[in-house]
Amino acid sequence: MATTIQPPGIEERRAGSGNGGGRNFTPTHGRLPAVKDYSPPPASTGIWVLLFSISMTFLALTSALIVRQGAALDWQHLTLPRILYFNTVVLLASSITLEVGRRKAAAYLGPVAKSVLQPARWLYITLVLGMLFVAGQYIAWLQLRAQGLYLATNPNSSFFYLLTAMHALHVFGGLGGLVRVIRKLNRSVLRKTTLDATARYWHFMDVLWIYLLWLLWTRI
């Protein structure tokens, strides 16, 4: 391969603008750089990006809460419905069952094929626990309503309903992801990266709920 080739008649107007003096960046010699052929799977990067933006949303809501608390004297602490703590345990349990199912599925995807029932079972349990969590949150709302605390009653109740509803909405998304994973597993078209990403999202919902529970407990 020739290193300098006489170009066939470059038009005058395009010749010799220079190349920036060659000081700008390293000219290449036609060799491939040592690029790692491995890059993170897109599902993995995608889920981290999604979790980051969800975090920003809840950070904005947190700052709204803090500012609103300091804005006026109408902040009336409410007692958190006890069922919230039960719901927390349910969500934590679902994370555990999901992790068990994920590892079993990973083993299934390895060289020694085992029965597909085992990981699927744990994923179904996770799904049920997730739905139980959402139902428990709805019961918490009903309990609050029974105390006469609605969305607009006072700022505390507003933020309570808002934060728990936003979280529950994202948990719904996680449930949808779980359903998708289960369906794919049953059809044997599940990728490990999909399962890992869905699990990571679910665990994040767990962490987010613990943070929200702490926020609600200390401020609301």
Binding site: G20, T28, H29, S39, T45
Partner: protein, 473 residues
Amino acid sequence: MPFPHINMSSFWVTFAAFLALVASFFVGDGPTLGGWTQYAPLSAVGSVGGPGEGTGVVLWAVSIGLFCVGQLLGSLNFITTTLDMRTRGMSLWRLPLSSWAWFITSCMGLTAFAVLMPACILLILDHVAGTSFFVPSNLVINDQLQPHSGGSTLLWQHLFWFFGHPEVYIAIIPGMGIVSHVLITNMRKPMLSHRVLIYSMGALAVLSYMVYGHHMFVSGMNPISSLAFSFPTLIITIPSTIVVLIWLGSLYGAKLQLNSACLFALGFISMFITGGVSGFFLAQPSVDIMLHATYFVVGHFHMVMGVAAMFGIFAGTYFWFPKMFGRMMNETLGKLHFWLTFVGTYAIFMPFHYLGLAGNVRRYQAFVNDYTQRLIPVHQFITIAALFTGAVQLIFLYNLFHSRFWGTPAPDNPWEGTSLEWSTPTTPPPHNNFGDTLPVVYHDPYQYGVESSTGDYVMQTSPEQVKTAHDEA
């Protein structure tokens, strides 16, 4: 790309947002009147605030909330593609500047839109659920005491402008990337410093989160915080200036091919400088007290963001139209469009600065004081310039649609560019972009001014080795 369904849904969510916004013209008593900034409490009190403040605000908030979701989905795709799905040989530093700009913009969008969305949700709740996040107590409108209690109007401003300032950089940074890309191709040499340009765009992105309070100097917040926001605002002028100086320095001594795309790229630089300079004044609280909410601000942001970004869009259109549609746009019409628009937009927006300095407040629909009445002839001049410039855009629209169907067929690489989009096997590109074989990248993105078998450039995908001046040194 990694998530094609998410990509598709991002467009349709954005389209739904557009429909929701336009629908506000046809419901109730019209669209909201609170400005695109929708300051509380006007935006949150409901229809007692005026026509369009009921359903109009809700539709606006729904539209913008949907828009945020759409952009978040899109940014998700961009970031994942950049980090995970580059072709073989494409290291990050071998990305063209336009791609770096889109990557930086999508990172910003991820953070900014994620904050506007909950703000819109809170606004909707204030309207439909009777909460009072943004409406304070003891507010009396039209002799009626409003039922809300305890909200913070400043909270909306903080939430909005935390999004709002990065948003204006989201609007301009892709333009910077497109303009850099177009200029390099037409200068036939790379930028003075490719990496510093990238670092500067990144610095703009990071700093943009720290300056948002400069929209709130007169909002009643603590004056010390005005100082805290003014300082980074002055600092952020540094990366902006570096970017401009790199452009100007690279242009020095270049033999430019002045096609329409290049003219619009140069126009972008001109608009960005002119509009940006007025920003220096507004960055200082003491000066901003006089100029806030006057036409000075309106002139500033129209030039630096409105017209500059439009010129970036035009530059991209003229540059990439041959690749997208396989036909060339009409060069004569393009140049005519440029010169008339360039003169026209200066004629519209330069007088705005004069109006602002003279004390003409913005968002007023009529002028009743004697000092503003004397400015009406200036407004009339601006109106005529605006109508003229608007009419000129018909040239562009005609060019766009005529060339789409009857333009000269375009070669694969009409501008002799080096980046990957010019190496597709057909023009317009086939469904899978590059045909059956994936491109492999051997070179940095802007190898112009070298001696190679193709002329004075070597494409990124060409395995040919070339000698550059650096080698000889």
